[in-house]
């Protein structure tokens, strides 16, 4: 039994409707509890005048798995400049755009984050992804498994197989890979590229399977709904980065037909073709669609200026963009009939019209969507920029004059004409707490995270008030993980192993016979290795806690 009390903080806890009330927070054995004011505790922290929030949750950040590690290998120049840790608790770990897993955990925790989710786990790469996440200290973690480019699902759709069988296959895949959700990347497009197709619109046929991205999105969204998966289908829509892609993005929303869907890194999917350069912001159209469709949530994928590396499962689009890379080198791969991978280093430049506009579009999206519960703060780390730029991004969102100053430095056409100039909205601390904690927790179905109510896990970040919000969110005064003090004044004081969030959906086990036959005839791994057992997950994830999460409703078969 260990208890602690945070005394006199200003609580920002949107999940419980608390916005700035001064009160104490009690913790017993890693959980938030109501403590009698007279009750003696093991440790008391005077946090008067400070802002207390739940620990941050990054819902979309490429922190672990094959393509992240390839990105590290591709850019030794990003990792060479490094210092030895000055903290004996830290092991050496380097890199800015794609740091080693150790540095990733350290730097996230130092910003007050306590959980992060890998959005693009290939089924065949699941063990590797769990290993890297297990070696990301302090943070709890989980992953969305990629479906919708696996030859099996496309084949099943092409053959007109019963929806129930596809649903069972989706459920089995989540179970087998120990995933927290499903991501579809360029629906059908990664597979199509393997058949030498270079473009695939929402209603265009896959050159081999003769099915459309619309069918893929609909089928997966319906399967997740019926399986009771809390996180809606995570959608990396068609035509990433293509001018005019607002059309396919809106078509993807329409394809959901009211089912829940989470459109990810929408900044890369909100482009029009207006103006002399045939490249324009479509943030308003997209924001209006999000406002009008309560079944839709988004994360932004804000870009920040400087060197980064883009790492995506979208081989089709990354191949098309490879010539724009800087430095000029790239990695691509066709993977195990279930995924692809494209890694292109990229430097976003303030003087570039396109990059400046991308920057403005991201911020416009944050500010034009009315409901903060459906917008999550991300840079799509590392694709738009490294996660360490979050405090800067928060300041941009909270401080109109700072935002205008930055805008003025950009390519003059953007600085003068951007829609962003006319947007006066400044986000409140409460809205930031929603976008960085409460909303991602709710969108993932993590009832006891992202909030500070009684019974919640004691993942807590305490920030010293500072009108410079970038400074404030860069260096929290205290961070607690499951009630353990892990960061004090921005410095690590403990590095526990994080836990793994995953789901155990129900599915008809009869599906396994078909899957075993398919694996035998088409794949290169023995069927007995298709699923990760619980004990094996524990070993992969470095001995961290296994956090099986509840499903919506009963889940499984109706």
């Amino acid at each position: 039994m260990s208890t602690l009390r945070l005394k006199g903080g200003r609580i920002i806890d949107p999940a419980n409707g608390i916005d700035g009330e001064v009160r104490d927070i009690g913790v017993r054995d890693g959980r938030i509890v109501a403590l009698h004011p007279a009750e003696k505790v093991d440790r008391e922290f005077d946090v008067s005048g400070m802002v207390v929030m739940a620990g941050g949750i990054d819902m979309h950040t490429h922190i672990g798995g094959g393509k992240v590690n390839l990105a590290r290998m591709l850019l030794p120049e990003d990792h060479r400049a490094n210092r030895a840790p000055d903290n004996p608790l830290e092991l050496a770990s380097a890199g800015c755009c794609t740091p080693g897993t150790l540095a990733t955990g350290y730097r996230y925790a130092e910003m007050g984050y306590t959980a992060a989710f890998e959005p693009a786990m290939a089924p065949s790469n699941a063990r590797h992804a769990h290993m890297e996440m297990g070696d990301t200290p302090i943070l709890d973690h989980g992953a969305y498994v990629m479906l919708g480019n696996d030859e099996l699902m496309l084949r099943m759709l092409a053959e007109g197989q019963d929806f129930e069988r596809i649903r069972d296959y989706v459920g089995w895949t989540i179970h087998a890979t120990r995933a927290m959700g499903v991501k579809v990347v360029n629906p059908g497009g990664i597979s199509a590229f393997k058949f030498n197709q270079r473009k695939l619109d929402v209603d265009e046929d896959h050159t081999h399977w003769r099915i459309t991205p619309r069918q893929v999105v609909q089928t997966l969204a319906r399967a997740l709904t019926e399986l009771g998966i809390p996180h809606p289908l995570h959608i990396h829509a068609s035509n990433l980065g293509v001018p005019g892609n607002i059309g396919s993005t809106l078509a993807t929303i329409a394809a959901l037909e009211g089912l829940r869907g989470h459109l990810t890194h929408v900044q890369f999917h909100a482009y029009g073709t207006e103006g002399a350069r045939k490249f324009s912001s479509a943030a308003r159209e997209l924001a209006e669609a999000v406002n009008a469709n309560p079944n839709v949530s988004i994360d932004v994928g804000q870009i920040t200026f400087g060197q980064t590396v883009t790492a995506s499962g979208d081989t089709m689009r990354q191949h098309a963009n490879a010539d724009l890379g800087s430095p000029r080198k790239w990695i691509g791969a066709d993977i195990e009939c279930d995924a692809g991978c494209g890694i292109v280093p990229f430097r976003y430049r303030e003087e570039s019209f396109v990059n400046a506009l991308q920057w403005a579009i991201g911020l416009e999206l944050f500010l034009l969507v009315d409901d903060p519960w459906r917008v999550v703060l991300t840079t799509d780390h590392p694709n738009g920029g490294p996660f360490t730029s979050y405090p800067h991004l928060i300041r941009l969102l909270m401080d109109k004059s700072f935002r205008d100053e930055q805008l003025a430095k950009l390519h003059p056409e953007v600085a003068v004409n951007a829609l962003l100039r006319g947007i006066g909205r400044e986000l409140s601390l409460n809205e930031i707490a929603i976008m960085t904690r409460a909303a991602p927790a709710r969108l993932l179905g993590l009832a006891d995270r992202g909030q500070l109510g009684e019974g919640a896990a004691a993942d807590i970040a305490v920030y010293r008030e500072d009108p410079d919000r970038e400074a404030m969110f860069t260096t929290p005064e205290y961070v607690f993980k499951d009630g353990e003090l892990v960061v004090q004044r921005g410095r690590l004081v403990a590095t526990p192993v994080g836990g793994t969030h995953f789901l155990e959906p129900e599915f008809d086990p009869a599906i396994e016979r078909m899957l075993a036959k398919y694996a035998d005839e088409h794949l290169a791994t023995a069927w007995r290795h298709a699923a990760i057992g619980r004990d094996e997950l524990c070993a992969c994830a470095n001995g961290g806690r296994l956090l099986a999460c509840p499903l919506h409703g009963r889940g499984g078969r109706k």
């Binding site: 030794p76 030895a84 290993m131 066709d334 007995r528």
Partner: protein
Amino acid sequence: MTANPASPPPAAATGRPWTCPFCPLCCDGFSLAAAPRPTLIGSDCGRAAAALSHFGAAPASATARVDGRAVDHRSAVAAAAAILGASAQPLFAGLATDVAGMRALYRLANGCGAILDHANGDALMVSTRALQDRGVFYTTLAEIRNRADLVVCLGTNATDHYPEFFRRTAPAADAPARHVVFVGACMAASVPGLEACTTEEIGFAGDVFDTVALIAARLAGRRTAASDPALDALIVRMQAARYTVVVWESSSLPAQGALVAEAIQRIVNTLNRTTRAAAFCLGGGDGGYTANQVMTWLSGLPLRTGVHMRGLVHEPQRYATARLLAQRAVDALLWVSAFSPELAPPDTGLPLVVLGHPGLEEAAARANSVFIPVSTPGIGSAGHLFRADGGVVLPLVPIYADTLPGVAEVAADIAANIAAARAEGGAR
């Protein structure tokens, strides 16, 4: 290899499903009979048979040694910690271990400021350096099975060192017809997995460097002085193929092999502008890929990196084991070789710690040496290894319960010992 693919395994043979840890194909489709000796069933793989010959039906009894004298585990750990703790610049080499072993070795490397290189570091750096300079477009076993209509084996017949390669990538029933071209390599006599393919051997046009340069140039539309009818025909084939896979072997290339890897990348990139193609590198044996992957994700940098007071330093050339030893740039060697007694430490007079297969006992029997026998993942203990195609990790299951500790356990013990000695004021 004398395999006859048509002959079924002997009917009497029974065994358990098993995953072979002895090359990075990590075959998991064969079984293993544990008695009277561990024997692979369903494959005549010579590499696996040779590796299995170093194991019996039951765990070997082996003892730790310090300066050649038998000691208990604790004394051996203390002696190893004393060597590594006193070293100003230790080298961790060999690194033939699994994921858990590498995780623990990286922690230990942080505890004593080590440089890390793998036994196959030279070959690993061929592919790593080409990747760092130009990138790569690669494919995986199942993709080859389902998609490849043309496989070009450049300077390797694949099967000499990866005996089951063609069976692991054999065309699926509904895959396109496949043609396999061996360029500058002789196809083995009887190769399981090639039954359904047409095959062809052609020579190099000059050496391997000339050949890849010629192919790359002609594919890119450049006129070249030299012309070679067989290569010209191959180039036409590649352009017409729907999915070409260029197979190469990183350890079979001469010095400057990274140039070949870069040319292969140019070939694949050019083909991908009009049709589809990808490379497949055979390499990463003895846990090489595993060590490189784990090192990269933990530290952010691949092998041939040192954990120094001034930070992490990655030196793909200077931190080669042979060079560091020759230049006396290190003053102690930790050699890890958990899979085979044949992967012995290099000859050195430096203080030496070997975490190895019991058969390596003699390799560390002199003064100033410590030998700690360790369990082999996939034989005496569970573990995980990366397969040659990068992202697939296979779980290994033991065939018996070992009496020996794993590399991870021993490395953690040594690290704890060093930390305890430091805490007592015994800092170096």
